[in-house]
Subunit: 140 residues, 2 copies
DNA sequence: CTTAGTGCAAAACATTTGCAAATGT
DNA sequence: ACATTTGCAAATGTTTTGCACTAAG
């Protein structure tokens, strides 16, 4: 049924030098089928298990790191304890809802950053992350 | 000798509802004496021990969290594993040197952010973090 | 004295790793 | 068949917690 999609994901994995194993295909499906997502390892693992793909937690960790190296996903540093992975690798920024620990995309076009400072000698800019931290507005 | 400074730190702590204990004073001294700093718990602990204040790691954790709640320091989310604490609580941004895991301040004045998107319904902006990730420039 | 703070060791998490068994090519 | 990948369980690294002991007011 979802065979067309799986084929293309298999190709993508192969292009990255990753063997398209059952687990990797299933994880990639979950990651990319539903559009842009922000997930912890734990969340993805649970989704996979719920979807009937009993992959181990260690494999989810390993797979997400492989995907990161392959440039399929990106690591998000928003909160100390858990690592978030972002399936949207295009240039964009994030809302982070404190308390809920929820991450939302901000289209890059909607933010203008000017006057970026010169990086120190011998350094170049790898990436600019903007995180807008949100809290519930207290209604009084 | 450094008594004037210690007195004022004692007052600051007291104002935050924190008893100025030996350990807290020593840690606050290390944090604030040398200007703006970006430290992990481990680093601060080592500094304290080196300075002849044999505080325990757990106390450094507890103290930094208390300082954070009191608004004396700020948590920096730059890198997944370790938590950085920033002694500069004014509005500013950061360079993060990947590989070195080093954090550098960027004066806020030098970056202009325009077109900030509207926060979702019922939310307000708590803080805007800009992290410019740097990598060593490859000289070719 | 009384209460809050500290240190230690153990617990709790998140993440990584080693190795035998399973899978992909 | 052969190399890679997986799963498990154990190891690691970081942070938190429980509780007896110590220090501050």
């Amino acid at each position: 049924m979802v065979h067309v999609k799986e084929l293309s994901i298999e190709t993508r994995l192969r292009d990255c030098g990753l063997r398209p194993t059952r687990q990797r295909i299933a994880l990639a499906d979950l990651l990319f089928a539903k559009g842009d997502r922000h997930l912890t390892v734990e969340e993805l693992h649970e989704e996979a298990v719920d979807a009937g793909v009993p992959v181990s937690l260690a494999t989810v960790y390993n797979t997400l790191h492989q995907f990161t190296e392959a440039g399929l996903v990106r690591v998000l540093a928003v909160e100390g304890s858990r690592t978030y992975f972002d399936t949207n690798i295009s240039d964009h920024h994030h809302f982070f809802v404190e308390g809920d620990n929820e991450v939302l995309d901000i289209p890059v076009s909607s933010i203008e950053i000017g006057n970026l400072p010169e990086p120190p000698e011998g350094m170049e800019i790898a990436h600019v992350d903007v995180i807008i931290r949100l809290r519930a507005k207290k209604n009084r």
